[in-house]
Amino acid sequence: MSKIEAEIAPWALPREEITMYVKLEKGIEFSKIIITLPKCLEIKDFINVVKHYEKDNLIVVLDIGKSTLSKKDYFGITIASVEPFKDLAVKSKISIQLVEANGNETEIETFARIFRPLLEINKIPEQISINDIEESTLPIHLKFKGFGDISMRIEGSIGGSLVSEGGKSVMDRLFHGFLREGLFDEEFEEGDGKGIIIDKTKLVRAFDEFKAKLKDSEYMKELEQDKEIKREAIEWLKSFEEVKQEKFMNVLYDTMEGYMIKKLTDIFARNVSRHLQIDSGTNIIAEIKAKLTDLHLKIFYKDLAGNIYPPIQSTVKILDKREKDTELRVLIPIEVENVDESEAYQDVGAMVIQNVI
């Protein structure tokens, strides 16, 4: 090997910690090793550095722990980009200068390779209409570019008020509640090879317990504060009458099996493409007061390092063609019909990057 070598993680997201190791030939005595970082990178941690000082964007390493047993001496630093870059792929140059005790100098360089995602709207209707007969949907085609798995949240507003909802339905809520409370424990044991069996008597008991919980004002408060539950669901829970319950339970028994199918497909529906997952905001629920209403959409997305990117925005006009029940709130599901991933990066570890920052 040469006197000094650097080894760095081959790819990272913005703000993700990147480990860079510096390895030295055994027996090299140095007076200092100077690492020059670009301004866009910050230092997060040191590995096996005994003595150092920092000045502006320089890190001067004066001493490291040298073990007699290892084949090479090494130390490491972890760094991260301060902000996400605009470019989808950048490399940031890091220089490492070895100043030996005998005055010899060797300089090497390496690059932090940072990649990010970018989401765009490919196609969205300028206008949709609602009528008395069928449900209207809002189809969106998206384009994913760059790198990284993202989750997105859609926020819709009319006249400044939020009208988007989504996330968990009341059925989901019940189901998860049962699971969390351990009411389905035995039925949901994995590994017996039988899958999931639902016991009707247990279900009734579980539902009764849930009903009792609804009378607990603290529990209700908690439910109301839960942003994941639809407003509609809370209203329904509050006005829960025995007669309605009967009906609901009858449907529930018959369809519990079907509900499991729904759960299966829901999860798949949220994972709309290889890189994109929908977190919430898949429905617009609003009172439409005018014949023509502007619906403003914002799509937020974040990567696995938790970086939230500037939202993409669009406006869709809603044309109200209803003649009956015009005061009723309408539900418009947003359907992500297509995600074009033709410009998603592959093999970023080996990618040639032009942008040096």
């Binding site: 073990s67 090494y74 090879g193 039988k194 497909t265 798949f268 994972n271």
Partner: protein, 309 residues
């Protein structure tokens, strides 16, 4: 900014032990840490003078939770059985029972606090996979934070089962292969449920009819799918599609959110490695044979649909 804790913190109990054995010139020989189990095994060489043995002296070590004496050997590596006894909160060895030997070797096992372990080792897997149509790759990185300090105490040190785990997003893969039949069935069910909640008899009847028709068309039970997903995300199956560079092993495959909609959202794959003073760094890749795995998902889903038709 986080800086590492000193190795001394992690090895606190060892310092105490050395103190208890101080009359017998303890020499630290080896230390093996199991990172996943949070235990450490320490090998200590002792000199017990003949006079001490013959005078029927006893060695007493306070016993406290989280540490025990597991083994004792003489200089020729013969195991000395069951000499240590716990009496009134102390480990006691009656020296008169010891066979004559130039030296002895005691092995002790203790627990290590997780935080302190983190101070010994730097671990950083990549957050996001890289890859192409064939494979997904994850970067794995582990190293000793302060090898020099460890070497000052130990002639041999090994940290086993360091987990540089990665999260593999399994839902996305299943999502890519979900059969249309399942989606259709879910749609008809959704309508049925909706009708049921509205309490309109006509609506319920129509929706039910539609649902039953769908049911006749594709009469599978959702359990068939759940079972497949459980099998496909189980360790036995997934390990056929996962590989790691040679300094790593695949450990457990955990389903941390197994009840989230009954399907694991993601699975935690343990990539285990060992660090020693000789090899203080372990860097490599974990690879998922994505294309083959997707083909397997499709094959298994198709089996359910074909069987029922």
């Amino acid at each position: 900014m986080s800086f590492s804790a000193s190795p001394g913190d992690a090895l606190g109990w060892f310092e105490k032990i050395k103190e208890y054995f101080k009359d017998f010139r303890p020499e630290a020989k080896s230390m093996t840490i199991n990172f996943s189990k949070k235990t450490s095994n320490i090998g200590l060489a002792l000199k017990i003078e003949e006079g001490f043995r013959k005078n029927r002296n006893k060695i007493k070590i306070p016993a406290y939770p989280g540490f025990q004496i597991t083994k004792m050997q003489d200089a020729s590596f013969n195991q000395i059985q069951a000499l240590w006894k716990i009496i009134d909160g102390e480990w006691i060895l009656d020296a008169k029972d010891l066979p004559p030997s130039d030296g002895y070797f005691v092995e002790l096992e203790g627990s290590i606090d997780g935080k302190n372990l983190e101070g010994l080792v730097h671990i950083k897997p990549s957050f996001n996979r890289d890859g192409n149509d064939e494979v997904d790759r994850y970067w794995l990185d582990a190293s000793l934070r302060e090898p020099k300090k460890l070497e000052e105490i130990w002639t041999e040190l090994q940290i086993d089962e360091i987990n540089v785990g990665v999260k593999v997003d399994i839902n996305k893969l299943f999502g890519l292969k979900i059969p249309q039949e399942l989606k259709d069935k879910a749609d008809s069910l959704q309508k049925y449920l909706h009708a049921g909640r509205q309490g309109d008899r006509g609506l319920v009847f129509n929706a039910l009819w539609d649902f039953k028709r769908q049911e006749r068309k594709t009469p599978f039970h959702p359990n068939d799918f759940l079972r497949i997903i459980q099998n496909l995300t189980a360790r036995e199956t997934l390990t056929d599609y996962l590989s790691v560079d040679k300094s790593y092993n695949i450990g457990e495959i955990e389903h941390p959110t197994k009840y989230e909609g009954m399907i694991p959202q993601e699975v935690n794959v343990q990539a285990l490695t060992t660090l020693t003073l000789k090899d203080p760094q372990s860097i490599g890749y974990l690879t998922l044979q994505k294309k083959l795995y997707l083909e397997k998902i499709k094959e298994e889903f198709d089996k359910v649909l074909k069987k029922k038709k």
